[in-house]
């Protein structure tokens, strides 16, 4: 609404007479409950027009875009409330919260770049991360499912490439991990994504696991029993010639994802194992190297 009457000498009444927004607002002041049920057919008209203006994300795209969008929204809520002191408070990794968000934006950048998003460099960390993540999501939601198979750079200490689908799951994973870092930094309890989102993250980590295991080649598999929402059982062959299960490892699903992020130290990670205890320890150590720090 224009507020020019405040300084152009016009009285409020004169202004309202000539300003449609203010006239409309004043009309509503006397009617506190403006709800009125629209005709039933309007719902379909709205959705149909919306579909024509912007195609909904394909099912396979939405499956990875929605979890990422939710973590971005949660992180955005957390960052919006930070004081200057909190932005500059020292963190266990990446120096300060600001440094951590710069790191997150830098790890998002290859995926954003692949999708044609160019974030302005000189922007402050928060704005750069937020705009880049939002644009990335809009681009990916408008793309075809076939693009999810394209190969992009993954984040992490060891250079690796993977599908765009895996890269988006990794973005969800890292955004969640750093959102929990911010929660810890500001005295809030950690939060976990819904079970089906956590499950995608665990499956991403399990797919990466064999290449992180050190030592002599082992032609065996490891069975993981991960419990809690989204949990299940996965058998991961450590080589293509795997002929038997050498270890059964049981742990909480969310804890396992936090191990992948190296937010559980391998020596403290709570798990139960049956079979080869040395291999179980090596698998836990390897899992803790698959984060994005």
């Amino acid at each position: 609404m224009t507020d020019s009457y405040l300084y152009n000498g016009q009285s409020a009444d004169d202004h309202v007479g000539s300003c449609p927004d203010c006239s409309a607002a004043i009309t509503l002041l006397d009617q506190p409950d403006p709800a009125a049920v629209p005709p039933a057919r309007l719902r379909e008209s709205v959705l149909s027009k919306a579909r024509r203006r912007r195609a909904p994300a394909e099912v396979g795209v939405a499956e990875v875009a929605v979890p990422y969008a939710e973590q971005v929204a949660l992180m955005d809520e957390l960052l919006a409330e930070l004081s200057v002191r909190q932005w500059n408070s020292p963190t266990a990794r990446h120096g300060t919260v600001r440094g951590m968000i710069e790191h997150l934006a830098a790890n998002d950048a290859p995926v954003a770049w692949f999708l044609g998003v160019r974030a302005p460099e000189p922007d402050p960390a928060y704005r750069r991360w937020r705009e880049q993540a939002g644009s990335l999501l809009q681009r990916v939601s408008a793309s075809t499912g076939a693009l999810l198979g394209a190969e992009v750079e993954l984040a992490g200490a060891t250079p690796a490439r993977g599908s765009l689908r895996h890269a988006l799951i990794q973005r969800t994973f890292e955004t969640w991990t750093h959102a929990d870092d911010v929660r810890r930094q500001t005295g809030r309890p950690p939060e976990a994504p819904p079970g089906d989102h956590v499950r995608m993250i665990a499956e991403f980590g399990l797919a990466m696991l064999p290449r992180a295991v050190r030592g002599p080649r082992r032609d065996v598999s490891v069975t993981f029993v991960l419990t809690g929402p989204g949990g299940g059982t996965w058998t991961v062959p450590l080589s293509s010639a795997s002929d038997r299960v050498a270890v059964l490892l049981a742990a909480d699903m969310v804890d396992f994802c936090r191990l992948l992020a190296n937010r559980w130290k391998p020596g403290c990670f709570p798990y139960a194992a049956e079979g080869d205890p040395a291999l179980a320890r090596e698998v836990v150590r390897a899992a803790a190297t698959l984060g994005c720090d």
Binding site: P20, D21, S23, A24, A25, T27, L28, Q31, D33, P34, A35, A36, V37, P38, P39, L42, R43, S45, V46, L47, K49, A50, R51, R53, R54, A55, P56, A57, V61, A62, A65, V66, Y68, A69, E70, V72, A73, L74, D76, E77, A80, G134, L137, Q138, S141, A142
Partner: protein
């Protein structure tokens, strides 16, 4: 996670069910404002349609940090209705 931030995230991710959910939750308020201001049901339907389609087309234009989705939708409906009354 829940509420407006979740709906906003799903809209950004291209989930049309999120628009349907937003419509089901808020359309009576959007349409209600439009009817009261325009005093014209055809205009009010156009306003309601434009407001929800705009949310879908540019989901980042709604920022959950700055207020409720209902408030955002109703203020847009108010503006659109006022313009229609003025233009006729």
């Amino acid at each position: 996670m829940g509420g407006d931030a979740e709906l906003s995230a799903r809209l950004v991710a291209g989930d049309l069910d999120a628009l349907a959910a937003a419509y089901d939750e808020h359309s009576a308020f959007v349409y209600g404002v439009a009817v009261q201001v325009t005093r014209n049901e055809v205009f009010a339907e156009e306003v309601t349609q434009d407001v929800f389609v705009a949310l879908w087309e540019e989901p980042l234009s709604y920022d959950p940090r700055l207020g409720s989705l209902r408030g955002w939708l109703v203020s847009r409906a108010l503006h659109e209705s006022a313009v229609r009354v003025k233009v006729g």
